[in-house]
């Protein structure tokens, strides 16, 4: 009992212990934030570098009066299509449109087109990759 009171009654040297503890907590928190930031930045950079998309085919569809684009993910990350431009004009499309690795599917745009005209089709991903080319309507 005397020892207990001796230990807990003694208030000397508490401040250095507290300051050391506080410093440790701050240091650990700072390193955790730095590590998280590193992970996020590295992941974003890696994903942006690894993104590859191609347009396999563009069909100026007579039956549906639409422009159908067949896209394929040939990269190493999942691709999210964020916008499609036809002649620099944004088009509506079934959103969200996601392409897993090695995935491929049609992307249909309801857009009137004129035969024998050229169209500049630009597919844009959320990470900023552009796949653009000129296509001629039949």
């Amino acid at each position: 009992m005397r020892t207990f009171f001796k230990i807990f009654g003694n208030k000397r040297a508490i401040t250095p212990v507290l300051s050391s503890l506080l410093l440790t907590v701050v240091a650990v928190a700072a390193m955790a934030i730095a590590t998280s930031a590193t992970y996020v930045i590295t992941t974003n950079l890696r994903e942006t570098i690894s993104e590859r998309v191609i347009v396999e085919d563009v069909w100026f569809n007579n039956y549906t009066n639409s422009i159908d684009i067949y896209v394929r993910n040939v990269g190493q990350v999942t691709v999210y299509i964020s916008a499609i431009f036809v002649n620099h004009t944004s088009q509506s499309f079934p959103s969200p449109f996601t392409l897993e690795i090695e995935d491929h599917q049609w992307l249909n745009i309801s857009q009137n087109w004129i035969p024998n005209s050229s169209y500049y089709v630009d597919v844009l991903t959320t990470r900023g990759t552009h796949v653009a080319a000129y296509y001629e309507a039949p």
Partner: protein, 142 residues
């Protein structure tokens, strides 16, 4: 003299935290740089291989057995063909394909179930890396 210096350095604890911070920061920087460089290297390799791909559709023949595509790999890497397209004014038909052609080799690919049309068509093959090879075919009945 040397012993004294050693003893003094061993007892002097000042500046240790700075060294630890620098070491940890260095580890973080090394992780970031190595990760990004590694990915960049892989994708450069991918792009380089894609540039080396040169597959050509030499001929498309319509026979009784079906449609025979003659393909030639004129590039310096093996190509893996994954898609085949038959495009004409009325339809754009895609077929799954799984054919490897070694560098410098030729290969025939027969399609027995292909719905053929008797007019001008565009035949395309797509590789796994994304290279597209196009052939303008004029279909003739056998």
């Amino acid at each position: 003299m040397l012993l004294l210096t050693m003893k003094r350095l061993r007892l002097d604890k000042r500046g240790i935290s700075n060294v630890i911070v620098v070491m940890l920061s260095l580890v973080l920087v090394v992780i970031i740089v190595s990760n990004v460089i590694s990915t960049s290297y892989q994708m450069n390799q991918f792009d380089w291989e894609r540039m080396q791909e040169n597959v050509e559709i030499v001929n498309v023949a319509k026979t009784i057995e079906g449609t025979i595509l003659t393909l030639q790999n004129k590039g310096s890497v093996t190509v893996h063909l994954v898609s085949l397209w038959i495009d004409n004014t009325t339809s754009h038909q895609r077929y799954d394909m799984d054919l490897y052609v070694n560098a410098g080799d030729s290969a025939n690919y027969t399609l027995s179930d292909m719905a053929l049309v008797d007019n001008a068509s565009i035949v395309k093959v797509i590789t796994e890396r994304g290279t597209i090879s196009v052939f303008n075919a004029s279909w003739q009945n056998p």
